[in-house]
Symmetry: C2
Subunit: 310 residues, 2 copies
C-alpha cells in the first residue's frame, strides 16, 4: 500500500542549545513523507513557492515520494522561525510567514484519489476536509492539528467536521487537554474519542506517547537519547513512521497499531538527532530495525509466570 | 528478607484540585514502610513528637512494620503543608515545621543492625550516613534525596559520602539534572552513576520512571489513571514497593530490578488515588497483582519474529 501525506513544505530557521540553521528544509509534509518512505511509496500533497529548490524535490523523488501533488505557485514558500531552550519539549515560535500557504487549495492528482492510507499534517481543518473530499474510499485516516485551530471559534466547527472523519488523531498532551477541556489525559482521551477518532495518540515529546483505543491504553516511552540537536519535525516523523508502517503492512489491527506507535517513536528518535531532515537523509533500514529491537529491550520486563508473593 | 526503612513521620496538610486534608499521616518513612509491607516485614526508623497518635503506630504494627526504631521525643512531630495545582507533578511547599526532626539522631535497635535491604528516605545526608554506619553488612541500599541537600554547599560533601555507599539512587528528573549539572538525562545518569550508585532510578511523576544500570536503560511508564487525588508520597511509595519487592525476593539481578521498578510504579499509582495513606489502607495484594499484570498489557508490543520490511 502507498500512503498519502498532506502538509506543509517549509524553510525552517531554528536555534537550539546545540546550534543554529537558516532556511533549511522543513514542513510537516516533508517529515511525514520522508519518515514514511522507509516503509512504502508516498504520495505527497502540499504547496511551494518559486524559491523552492529543485534539489529538495529531487531528494523526495529519490525516496519513492511522488511529488506530483506538490503545487508550485507564484510567491515565496512557507517559512517558520523558532527557538528551543534546554527544555526541548517547548518550541518558541519567533516568526511565521505563510506566503504561498495562504493560497493553498489542495487538488489531488487523479491517481492519488484511490489512496487508502492517509496522513493529514497540521493545516487548516477546512483544507484537511477538502483533501478527504477528494479521496474515494480511505481505509485509515490519521490527522494532526494544533492549538491555533482548536482555540479559534471560526476554525473549531471545521475542526469538528474533520475529526468526525478521522480514525487516528495524533496530537500532543497540551493539545489534547485544550481540545477536551480536561486536564486528566485518560478522561481527555475518552472525550476526544467521542468526537470521532477511534484512536488517539498523545505525543509527549521526551516522555513518549500514549495510544488510546477501544482495546485500552498502550504506553510507548521515548527512546532515551544522549544527543538531541533539534526536535523540529519529531511529531511529523512519528506520524509518518506510524502510518508508513501501517500502510506497508496494510493492517489496522490492535497489535499492528502498537507496533506502529513504536515505529513512530523510532523515526522520531532519529529525526531529533540532527537539524532539519539531515538525520533521515543518512538513516538506513538496518538502523531502524536495530532501534525497534532496542525499544523492546527498553520496555521489557518479565511478568508471565512471576510469583509476586511466594 | 525484611527491609529497613528510614525517613520522616509527619503530619501533612495538603490541598489539591480534588480536595483538602489537614494534619493527616504522612512522611517518607510512613509511605516507604506501608508500601513495602505488602512484600516483606519492615523495620521502621524515624522520630515522632508527643502529639503523634497511638492509632498511627498501631496501623503500622498491624502491617508487620516493626516500629521499635521510631523514637518518641519531647516536642511536636514534623509538619509539612503544601499545595498542588492541576499539574500534579509540581508540589508547592507552603510551610515546613521541622519540630522534633531537627533533633533526630537515628539509633538503630540492635536487632535492626543485621538488615540486608535498606531504603533511606529523603533526610539530611549526614543522618543517612549515621544509619549506614550502624548496619553491619547491607546488601542493597536505596536512597532518596532532594534539591535542598544538593544545592547547599554545607550538605553537598556529606551527600557525596552518602552516595558513595548507595546502590540505587532514586530521585526525580529535576534532582538528577541538579545533581549532575547536566540537562540530558542519559548523560546525567552516566555522571551520577560515577558518584557511587550502580543503579539510578529517575522518577518523572505522571511520565513514569527510568532505570539506568550497567546493563542499560529500562523505561517504565506511569500507569494512566483517571483518578489522581493527591500525589504526596508517590515517590516514597515507589521506593517502598521497589525495595519491598527486592527484599522479599532477596534478589539483585537485572530482571528482578526491572520488575521491582514496575512494582514501585504500581504502588505509586495506588498511593496517588487518595489523600495521605488512605488508598494503601484498603489496598489488597490481589489489586496489586492485577495492576502488575495490567502494566504488562500497557507496555506490550510484538517484536519477536516481526518482519518489518517484508
Amino acid at each position: 500500500m502507498n500512503l498519502l501525506a498532506v502538509g506543509t513544505l517549509a524553510f525552517d530557521s531554528v536555534t537550539t542549545p546545540f546550534g543554529e540553521r537558516r532556511d533549511v528544509l522543513g514542513g510537516s509534509a516533508s517529515f511525514l513523507s520522508t519518515a514514511a518512505s522507509y516503509f512504502c511509496p508516498v504520495r505527497m500533497v502540499g504547496v511551494i513557492g518559486e524559491d523552492f529548490p529543485r534539489e529538495h524535490l529531487e531528494f523526495f523523488r529519490d525516496r519513492r515520494i511522488d511529488t506530483s501533488g506538490v503545487l508550485a505557485i507564484p510567491g515565496k514558500t512557507f517559512r517558520w522561525r523558532g527557538r528551543y531552550d534546554e527544555n526541548l519539549n517547548v518550541a518558541h515560535t519567533l516568526e511565521t510567514q505563510l506566503n504561498v500557504l495562504a493560497e493553498f487549495e489542495p487538488k489531488l492528482p487523479e491517481v492519488f484519489r484511490d489512496s487508502r492510507f492517509v496522513v493529514l499534517g497540521n493545516i487548516d481543518p477546512a483544507l484537511q476536509i477538502k483533501v478527504l473530499d477528494q479521496i474515494r474510499k480511505p481505509r485509515l485516516v490519521a490527522c494532526d492539528t494544533m492549538n491555533y485551530w482548536i482555540e479559534a471559534p471560526q476554525y473549531r466547527t471545521k475542526l469538528g467536521e474533520a475529526l468526525a472523519r478521522v480514525d487516528v488523531l495524533c496530537i500532543n498532551d497540551g493539545e489534547a487537554r485544550l481540545l477536551s477541556g480536561e486536564y486528566n489525559l485518560v478522561k481527555a482521551a475518552q472525550m476526544i474519542r467521542r468526537m470521532g477518532p477511534k484512536s488517539l495518540v498523545v505525543k509527549r515529546g521526551e516522555h513518549g506517547a500514549l495510544l488510546f483505543t477501544e482495546q485500552g491504553v498502550f504506553a510507548a516511552p521515548a527512546f532515551p537519547l544522549e544527543v538531541v540537536r533539534d526536535p523540529t519535525g519529531a511529531g511529523d516523523s512519528f506520524a509518518g513512521g506510524m502510518m508508513g508502517y501501517l500502510a506497508k503492512k496494510d493492517a489496522l489491527d490492535a497489535a499492528s497499531l502498537r507496533q506502529a506507535v513504536v515505529m513512530g517513536s523510532v523515526l522520531a528518535s532519529f529525526a531529533v538527532e540532527d537539524f532539519s531532515l539531515d538525520r533521515l537523509r543518512t538513516l538506513t533500514r538496518d538502523e531502524i530495525g536495530l532501534r525497534f529491537a532496542q525499544y523492546k529491550t527498553l520496555t521489557h520486563f518479565e511478568a508471565e509466570g512471576v510469583s509476586l508473593w511466594a
